[in-house]
Symmetry: C2
Subunit: 340 residues, 2 copies
């Protein structure tokens, strides 16, 4: 038997903690790094992460630490579950030590000025790392509660996919592999915009027909955008595409959904964000996505409509009228985008 | 101005009534036929269909009747909203009079012995009719309440699509056209099977991750089956595919969902059907679909799993174990099915 090198999970939020538990349950050594020594101490002492995953037992084999150097020592596989705003800064100091290792981002977001995805940032700061990402319909709490869950690991490097499957695949957590890193990662970032719209629709007491129409149209325009960037359209029929979109547009707890709900109740964006206490990722994504879609000439009516409400002073009523108006159309705009 | 010929809606259930209201709201003459003279009289007198659409006003211009000959007299466009079990029998006597007209089915189902879809039955009994269908994420009550809704009219005959759009498209009801009649109609029939599974998952208190995984996998196997039969895979990215599947798997009121819920609580199929009072369409579809999938060699693990529970005495636990077990896989089985 070979000795298994430990696996590091960077980031002590709900998702990082849930992933560390999965690794430990698979009988593999795992270190969970977080910046805050107090939080690490709490997890060591109480075997719980009360701030982010209250009520869930942290597996005895998960080694919580605030020592980043120590955490990555000897690890071949490192799962990066840091907030998008912290990722670049947190990893820059240890970048040279990460060269050659398997670096897998679980973070969803787009960097504003560069339009870079998280794995692209990893590749930039650690050029010789072997990069992958995880994305899918994955609410952290449900993973931690052993609800049956499936995710996608995506990398053009097959060995990255195999390593992640070996670390995380288990009885209640199923890991599918994909070679379409760009498509899977873009899906995870873009869907946050549509969670805002789902929240608005709920606040307006829109029904299942409307919700389903919105999700379907969201899927179409996400796919159009991603295909234009070079993604595989079929990714959007899968777990990381439509699967994650359904969860995101159904989960009332996400900040994006709650911002949308507040907007639907008539609040301004400033009021909504003030009430929720921090900016929702989807609002940032909306700005950069709108700009990029305009630049690329991709037709994204839902993005344009939400942008008009948030930043151009249009009313919800005006935007809905515009979306529902116009002449009858064919249902082939997706097909047009995919196969022309 | 030309005189607009009246439009007939056959079937006084919730969907037929909602459609008749849409036509009337568009200012067009419309007749709503139902077998039961009492029911027609109630609608004429009370302007409501209390049995199927309680609380919704039936538009003053909707002419309710139990006279089938009179209902279709002079109508170029006839919308057929009859139950799948009654369609063939109800139309056979007037088949010769239907020749040459626009006949559009709104009914979802598969005839057991023949594996024929409703529009195929129409085409068989009225060979020279111009055939189309309507399908999509369309809960009748929500349409009637003017919740924003989109549907798909599908026909290889473009004029059929135009006629339906002219009759039904309006401020809150959007009608998209598709040439893929087979794909759209199969989607509407197949999804009933997955509504049973969604009901089971809910009874077992499965979370959003699981629900989303099930819907995504359902979409993949529906698409595989339909493509094998000759449908366009892209239809399944649209309203009639994933859109309808989401609504069906979210709507707790459908008989299919309720049968699944009862099964998930540990009842037998007989007990579940006895409690709900009539057979759910999805149970019939499951039988014929399983047989056809085996015959065609299409891989449908969810269909096989549900069939094993309902008809082969397997427990839910065994089936879930089998579905979640096995080695890690790639997420490309959809792609394989679509592009090989």
């Amino acid at each position: 038997m070979t000795v298994q090198s430990p696996i590091a999970v960077l980031g002590g939020g709900s998702f990082g903690t849930a992933l560390a538990n999965l690794v430990a349950e698979n009988g593999l050594p795992v270190r969970l790094w977080m910046r805050d020594p107090q939080q690490a101490e709490t997890i060591r002492r109480e075997r719980e992460n009360p701030r982010y995953l209250k009520g869930i037992k942290v597996h005895a084999a998960v080694e919580a630490t605030s020592d980043l150097q120590g955490a990555i020592q000897g690890c071949e596989l490192i799962l990066v579950a840091l907030p998008s705003s912290a990722l670049r800064q947190a990893l820059a100091p240890i970048a040279p030590q990460l060269e050659g290792r398997f670096l897998v981002s679980t973070t969803k977001g787009i960097e504003a000025h560069s339009f870079m995805l998280m794995s692209e940032i990893l590749a930039e700061i650690v050029p010789r790392a072997r990069i992958g990402i995880i994305s899918g319909p994955n609410l952290a709490r449900e993973i931690a509660e052993h609800q049956l869950t499936a995710t996608v690991v995506a990398s053009e490097d097959e060995e990255v996919c195999r390593r992640v499957q070996a670390a995380l695949h288990g009885r209640t957590f199923r890991v599918y592999a994909s070679a379409d890193r760009l498509g899977v990662e873009l899906a995870g970032a873009l869907k946050n915009v549509y969670a805002i719209i789902a929240g608005m629709a709920a606040a307006l007491a829109m029904g299942e027909n409307t919700r389903s129409m919105l999700i379907t149209r969201a899927l179409a325009e996400m796919t159009r955008f991603a295909v234009q960037r070079g993604a595989n359209p079929i990714t959007y029929l899968g777990l990381a595409g439509v699967g994650d979109l359904i969860v995101t547009c159904s989960s009332e707890k996400s900040r994006n959904y709650r911002v949308g709900h507040a907007l639907g109740r008539g609040q301004t964006l400033d009021e909504a964000v003030a009430q929720i206490g921090e900016t929702a990722e989807g609002v940032n994504t909306l700005r950069v996505l709108k700009e990029k879609a305009d630049e690329l000439g991709v037709y994204m009516p839902l993005v344009n409509g939400l942008y008009a409400i948030l930043f151009e002073g249009r009313s919800l009523g005006q935007v809905i009228e515009a979306l529902m108006g116009g002449e009858p159309k064919t249902d082939v705009d997706v097909a047009d985008a995919l196969f022309t």
